[in-house]
Symmetry: C2
DNA sequence: CAATATACGGAATCCTCTCTCCGCTTGTCA
DNA sequence: TGACAAGCGGAGAGAGGATTCCGTATATTG
């Protein structure tokens, strides 16, 4: 199904590897702060390289954002995996959502990407699928324990999180919404009565 | 407090008035369909006028969107006012949210505007304030009747609606989220236990 | 029905990015 | 150390759109 990832990837030259890391780090902060509106030149400047170099490593802006997105999803997945070890089924469920929401809140670009289709999601796909599978287990446990409503499904999670993310970024200028309160409303809605 | 709106507004020439209406109508559909991404030329074409004419009536794209936004808020306000006549406190509350959500769903531009700060909100401000005041009454009635949780406030409404709107526009390409389901989750969260 | 202020149209202008290109620099390897 | 492929920088080509400008057309008015 999956062809060999790369036929004969010769290792990057030392300086190139270093620059790639710098670019990724610069992009992480630039996009986290400004969302998808951050410009490629910003990224280059922060990384201390020229734009050409950024493009040498990532063919398009979309691809660069896609990489960050993938990284973020790996973090979310990690959060979900840790939930599997949590005794209390509700705590496993709600705790993961709370922790992962914090991860999203720290990153305007991911919020943007979640809400519009402006990024290359392909690199994140793998982590996304596994995240879905993993969190489905957490949800099933919670449902089995009777702490989450029966009609709740794993597919509701992206929808609700999407809504939550939009409240992280939006709100009357100067006084952002209290998205943690929003999250608590959601958790209340999902908790079994 | 409020100075005379316009010192001596001489009436528009007949053709100008007609064009203004056409432009507004064209903008309504163009933006409803494509969100803030619709282009000024689209609007002009649909209205059967040149771009210059659009700009004669609305100084910027922001201003044009602002006008539509104001109009939409007047509709939302009307919805809230009608709720005052509804007997059942919960029905008044939930019914209004459901009906107004449908209004939002019909208009991609408003969703966009709600989530980003790309429009001129000043024209909508008046209706917005009144909407807030009016719906606050509906909420108080519902709280008094014990059908809405005590810690819910009018300020939660924009936040939750913002989240809801984002799920109207977003979702995996091809299979949009079921925002009505999202709304029911919200209503469940807000309903007193 | 002129005279004239209002409006109109839409090509041209401006701006803001993303992405390309190519001469120069620097690791790497024998 | 010398040869050379791998990388680099950054000016500028392009593209997409908002906004402007001005010659022309048309309501309105006396």
């Amino acid at each position: 199904m999956k062809p060999s990832a790369a036929p004969a990837e010769r290792p990057l030259r030392a300086d190139a590897r270093r620059n790639r890391e710098r670019i990724l780090a610069a992009a992480k902060t630039a996009f986290a702060e400004a969302g998808v509106h951050a410009q490629m030149e910003d990224v280059a400047r922060r990384a201390g390289v020229g734009v050409g170099t950024v493009y040498r490593h990532f063919p398009t802006k979309e691809a660069l954002i896609g990489e960050l997105l993938a990284e973020k999803f790996r973090l979310l997945l990690q959060g979900a995996r840790e939930a599997l070890d949590v005794e209390d089924p509700w705590e496993a469920f709600a705790g993961t959502l709370r922790r992962n929401a914090e991860l999203m809140a720290a990153d305007a670009a991911v919020q943007d990407a979640l809400m519009r289709v402006e990024a290359d999601w392909s690199h994140a796909e793998e982590a996304r699928q596994e995240l879905k599978a993993t969190f489905a287990i957490v949800i099933d446990r919670a449902k089995a324990a009777g702490v989450v409503r029966d009609d709740f499904t794993i597919d509701d999670v992206p929808m609700l999180m999407c809504g939550l993310c939009s409240t992280m970024a939006a709100g009357p200028p100067g006084e952002p919404f209290d998205w943690r309160r929003h999250l608590e409303f959601i958790l209340d809605a999902v908790r079994a009565r």
